[in-house]
């Protein structure tokens, strides 16, 4: 029963990792950009949530209503102001610029909030649970997983059913021809980053409610998101959810064996899948 419990906790944790991964996957899909600062942006969102809850005295979920648009706006400005200049055939500029950004965000957070771990207070929600078949499931992990499913379904809808998604796919296919269709790729990229950081805002606040956080943990969150993307298969949003679930389950089961094995177990599963299925478990079937 303990093992089953660990497995289910891991699956629910996977929802959070899928949210880490969704933003990463989205911007890679649209503009082939891998954002090294992605994890630090998640942590930034957590701190923005923390400040909002403290200053306005509101619940973290209410704070989300402010943090989401703020992060989206930041994403648009960041993309148009800096990241668009790095896009081209050369791999180095986007990688090194986002790496620099990662160091800047991390140290700015250290400067403002210090290295002390912080946590957001979600009140009674944090301890509430339901009993299902003898297992006690936390409401918060269940909600996190539910939110992840809804967000991924929403992204899937935007990508394949709306004019914005059509523009994303067209620009991703062929930037020049997309320009001929009246699409300004710089604006489209800005919107993609805005959407990615809106998802990141949700991920950051859910992270901040679930565990304590400090400015240095961004790199680890980037890695979890990245592992979920690769396990699931590049360019497949539902695969990303599956990747997150596999990673989450590996971590909680690893921790069950030995607490020191929690993260290592996740990495080992990732490397194992990379060894046997380098394109991930659910690679996108190209048309």
């Amino acid at each position: 029963m303990d093992w089953l419990n660990a497995l289910i906790q891991g699956i629910l944790l996977g929802g959070l990792y899928a949210l880490f991964a969704a933003g990463l996957s989205l911007i890679f899909g649209v503009m082939r950009l891998v954002n090294i600062a992605h994890g630090d942006l998640i942590v930034l969102a957590a701190y923005m949530g923390l400040t909002t809850t403290i200053v306005l005295g509101v619940h973290p979920f209410v704070a989300m209503l402010l943090v989401i648009p703020a992060m989206a706006l930041f994403g648009y400005v960041l993309q148009r102001g800096i990241l668009n200049q790095t896009l081209g055939d050369d791999l180095l500029p986007p990688l090194l610029v986002t790496f620099g950004l990662s160091v800047i965000i991390q140290n700015a957070l250290l400067e403002v909030y210090t290295a002390d771990p912080q946590k957001m207070d979600a009140g009674a929600l944090e301890t509430a649970s339901v009993s299902v078949g003898g297992l006690s499931l936390g409401i918060l992990p269940l909600m996190t997983f539910g939110i992840a499913v809804v967000i991924i379904a929403g992204l899937q809808f935007i990508f394949y059913r709306t004019a914005l998604g059509r523009a994303f796919r067209a620009v991703s296919d062929n930037q020049d021809i997309a320009q001929l269709m009246g699409l300004n790729r710089r604006h489209v990229f800005g919107l993609a980053m805005a959407l990615a950081l809106a998802v990141t805002a949700i991920a950051g606040i859910l992270l901040g409610i679930r565990t304590s956080f400090d400015p240095s943990i961004g790199g680890g969150r980037l890695i979890f998101g990245f592992e979920a993307v690769i396990i699931g298969g590049l360019g497949n949003l539902w695969g990303t959810l599956a990747g997150g679930v596999i990673l989450g389950a590996a971590q909680t089961l690893g921790a069950k064996i030995d607490p020191g094995w929690q993260l290592l177990a996740g990495h080992i599963v990732f490397l194992f899948i990379l060894a046997i299925r380098p394109n991930g478990l659910f690679p996108r079937i190209s048309g």
Binding site: R166, D173, L183, R185, G287
Partner: protein
């Protein structure tokens, strides 16, 4: 003579250090079909890329309805009413046939062309509207590429090598559709390897050779000799 819809004035174009066009002068009149011929590498595609904004030029080198557009981005030029049917068709592989057409219409210009009208022009596209654009035959893909450009209701449409790599019977059906397209009052520039075809559909012709205009004239008045001299640059 009325004011031309497009006026190209001493246009130079570069790929890095390589100069592809040298002082090209050209006008397109309202409602006419203009043909551009020339051998591979003569600069035909570069000229169309410059007009449609995919290459950077000086503002005054290209004027559209008297407005300098040489510096504008491709998306801005598309909104002003110039559409390009690119060489090699270049459909969006992630988009279905219908999505490829709809995205062409997203430029937001009003005019006679709509999804229904395009489907009337090429009925086969309606049957295959929801399949992936990559699953179409070459000729059908070319129909989508032309229709996608038409969906933006342009005033000037540029065709780059639309018969390249297609079977003769397909080429014929596409060219048969052409009068119906330009009959709507649109101006057109056609880049074509097949000289006979180019002359038969156009009113005027320009020949490019190594980035320079080597011949201009009325399509039904230029002689074979003049063309081969302008085309190859040697007396024959």
């Amino acid at each position: 003579m009325p004011e031309p819809i497009l006026n190209i004035d001493r246009l130079d174009a570069y790929y890095g250090d390589f100069q592809a066009l040298y002082g090209v002068e050209m006008t397109v009149q309202e409602g006419e079909v203009l043909a551009i011929i020339g051998s591979n590498g003569a600069g035909k595609s570069t000229l169309l890329r410059s007009i449609s904004g995919l290459m950077d030029n000086d503002a005054d080198q290209i004027r559209y309805r008297s407005e300098p557009i040489g510096r504008l981005r491709a998306d801005q030029i598309a909104k002003k009413g110039i559409a390009l049917v690119p060489e090699g068709r270049q459909l969006f592989p992630s988009l279905s046939v219908e999505e490829n057409l709809v995205i062409g219409g997203q430029v937001g210009r009003k005019g006679p062309w709509s999804l229904d009208k395009v489907f009337k022009l090429f009925p086969v596209l309606e049957e295959r509207r929801s399949v992936a654009s990559t699953s179409l035959s070459g000729g059908q893909q070319q129909m989508v590429a032309i229709s996608r450009a038409l969906m933006s209701n342009p005033d000037l449409i540029l065709f780059d090598e639309i018969s390249l790599g297609l079977a003769p019977v397909i080429i014929k059906s596409i060219y048969d559709a052409l009068p119906g397209i330009v009959g709507e009052g649109m101006s057109a520039v056609i880049v074509e390897q097949d000289i006979t075809k180019a002359l038969s559909v156009s009113s005027r012709v320009y020949c490019l050779q190594e980035g320079r205009v080597s011949l201009t004239g009325l399509s039904d008045a230029v002689s074979r000799e003049e063309i081969s001299r302008a085309y190859f640059g040697v007396e024959q």
